[in-house]
């Protein structure tokens, strides 16, 4: 079935529902819309598409001046890196189906991914990947010694994972609540030493390895391994949207009958027994039978509800945080790795954390690199100007690796922390929070429904966003 036919097919089956019976819910004359969706990221757009396919009148409001939310391809940076949602896993069924429906292709761009060549700087020593296994700075025992530093977090976290072979929502079962403890404590119990734990902490997205629940980390790697069971692109279990993941969110928005309104920052929600309204910072107000909010928890803290949110939900809004990340993108003027014969990319335990190089052989444009900083190290950059960040990072890199002196030209800074509509990359659960909040994030507040990756219970990341949008749309359709 070709692309056009597929679209026509979807439209015609959508039409059947309306023809067969009156929709269960419809604008009751007191509302302008059947549903308003807040947020034009993956979860909001997916919810809006599903509701429109079921003949609802839907309006999408977006705070930013662009579509996509945490899907954001830096189209003008060589190699078109993804600033946020990056890899589409084999198990990302809804995302893959939506991309195919909208005529998108997939690709694996030349940007190395986790298997690119890394050199390491640890405790001030610069070393090559091949020296790691036998190096005195390697803190691990036995076969673990062959795990390179940039793979330690993933590999060790997923080793003998108690969630393995469990259903994806098993992390919410009471029998696993015993792992809702500080992650470093879990690792120590398993016999890992302090230096191993310290190196695992380098690229963790939370502000410290002791402030993330072991259960959250175990779930993260459990879902990742589940993805590997499904191959979908040329025998691979991961890929990206060809040309950049943002093309998908753009196409999803384009497919809507009513285009999302941008620059609509929500400040207040209210509701009566018949409808719900959303108030924006620009003084506008929109009313619908149902509202679906995909607003991340840290942003929701600044938004008021009338009537107020239930106590437990408000507590979750106040306490649940998102991972931190900061990216400094540079153009690479000279191939410094050819000068010193080391791997192009650097993984370091100092505050630049990672410098990943793309287009080593000019595959998709000139070589470019990104200093990708997660967790507490990113706080350091919060109040720096762009110029100060570029200078600081370039100086640090030249200190680690003399061949990098004068090798970099600044392009742009991409910081979650500076984004008033995002406030982080993905939800992370602090020790104890899963038991307290995770199962309740999907509860509706009257006519207001919540979606977003943080409300997903099976999938994570971009597919978690789709899962949550689908669930919220079904909540509306079946209410």
């Amino acid at each position: 079935m070709n692309k056009i036919n597929r679209r026509q097919f979807i439209k015609s089956t959508g039409g059947f529902v309306a023809a067969a019976a009156a929709p269960a819910v419809h604008a009751n004359g007191k509302s302008d819309y059947d549903a308003i969706v807040i947020g034009a990221g993956l979860s909001g757009l997916h919810a809006a598409m599903l509701l429109e396919e079921n003949d609802m009148k839907v309006l999408v409001l977006e705070g930013r001046q662009r579509i996509g939310g945490r899907v954001y391809t830096l189209m003008h940076v060589p190699g078109k890196p993804e600033a946020a949602g990056e890899w589409i896993g084999g198990n990302y069924a809804r995302m893959i189906a939506t991309a195919r429906k909208l005529g998108m292709d997939f690709w694996i761009p030349e940007q190395g991914g986790p298997d690119r060549g890394w050199a390491y700087e640890i405790n001030g020593q610069f070393l090559s990947a091949q020296d790691w296994e036998k190096h005195p700075l390697n803190p691990m025992q036995g076969e673990d010694r062959s795990i390179p530093p940039h793979r330690m977090l993933w590999t060790i976290s997923n080793k003998d994972n108690p969630l393995a072979d469990q259903p994806l929502d098993a992390w919410l079962k009471p029998e696993f609540a015993k792992y809702d403890i500080p992650f470093d404590q879990y690792l120590r119990k398993r016999g890992y030493n302090e230096e191993t734990i310290r190196l695992m902490d380098v690229t963790i997205h939370t502000n410290h390895i002791s402030n993330t629940s072991a259960l959250h980390e175990l779930r993260r790697y459990h879902v990742n391994s589940f993805n590997a069971k499904h191959k979908f692109y040329e025998g691979n279990s991961y890929a990206q949207i060809k040309g950049g993941n943002s093309l998908l969110t753009d196409a999803m928005a384009d497919s809507l009958k009513q285009q999302p309104l941008l620059g609509k920052t929500v400040v207040h929600f209210d509701q009566t027994s018949t409808n719900a309204s959303v108030h924006c910072a620009d003084g506008t107000k929109y009313t619908a039978d149902h509202i679906i909010s995909s607003i991340p928890m840290p942003v929701l803290r600044d938004i008021t509800f009338s009537p107020r949110l239930p106590e437990q939900m408000q507590a979750a809004v106040n306490e649940v945080d998102y991972g931190l990340s900061m990216q400094a993108h540079f153009l690479i003027k000279k191939k410094f790795w050819e000068e010193d014969g080391m791997e192009p990319s650097i993984w370091s335990d100092r505050s630049i954390e990672r410098f990943g190089v793309r287009n080593v052989n000019n595959e998709d444009g000139p070589p470019a690199g990104v200093a990708f900083i997660n967790g507490e190290a990113s706080h350091k950059y919060r109040l720096m100007s762009d110029e100060a960040i570029f200078n600081y990072v370039a100086n640090e890199l030249a200190e680690i690796r003399p061949s990098m002196k004068g090798a970099l030209d600044p392009i742009l800074i991409q910081s979650c922390e500076r984004d008033p509509h995002g406030a982080g990359d993905w939800v992370y659960w602090k020790p104890g929070q899963i038991g307290k909040y995770a199962a309740n994030m999907r509860e509706r507040h009257g006519r207001i429904h919540f979606c977003g990756e943080h409300t997903a219970i099976m999938e994570r990341g971009m597919e978690g966003a789709f899962e949550s949008g689908e669930r919220a749309a079904l909540d509306v359709l079946f209410s």
């Binding site: 079935m1 097919f9 015609s12 089956t13 039409g15 059947f16 529902v17 067969a20 019976a21 599903l50 079921n54 084999g90 198990n91 069924a93 809804r94 893959i96 189906a97 939506t98 072979d165 469990q166 259903p167 994806l168 929502d169 098993a170 589940f226 069971k229 499904h230 191959k231 979908f232 219970i457 099976m458 999938e459 789709f466 689908e470 749309a473 079904l474 359709l477 079946f478």
Partner: protein
């Protein structure tokens, strides 16, 4: 395509009711229509992974044509988990209902990422929809 199928289905149901009381006939049809509409909505949970019509391509999950009465994990061209492939389970009414409530409980280690239909009402509708659409 689907629309025609459903229209003819509803028509054949009307015919099959035959010459019994008019009121009974129309309420049965109405019930069926309503059930299928609900079932179609419930199928939103499934549609990303599963196609229904004969010969349609597998997606993240297998095509479901001819589901009822088939042995689980045997459709050609789909890479099933060993757990499902070796299960010898028959897709009858009882097994399918249990599966749709919690696939991981019925066959542990299978690779269907589905948390389960949340209500009996939705499950009834989905079963009715699947029964018709996979024929």
């Amino acid at each position: 395509m689907k629309r025609l199928l459903l229209t003819s289905l509803v028509a054949s149901l009307i015919l099959s009711v035959g010459s019994t009381a008019q009121a009974e006939e129309s309420s049965t049809t109405e019930e069926t229509e309503k059930q299928l509409m609900l079932g179609k909505r419930a199928f939103i949970r499934c549609v990303a992974c599963h196609s229904l019509a004969e010969g349609e391509a597998h997606r993240t999950g297998p095509n479901l044509h001819g589901l009822f009465g088939a042995t689980a994990g045997q459709k050609e061209g789909f890479a099933y988990s060993d757990a499902l492939k070796n299960s010898t389970m028959e897709w009858n009414d009882e097994n399918l209902r249990a599966w749709l409530l919690s696939p991981a409980t019925v066959i542990p280690g299978n690779k269907m990422a589905f948390g389960g239909v949340p209500s009996e009402k939705e499950l009834d509708a989905l079963m009715a929809y699947l029964a018709e659409m996979t024929k």
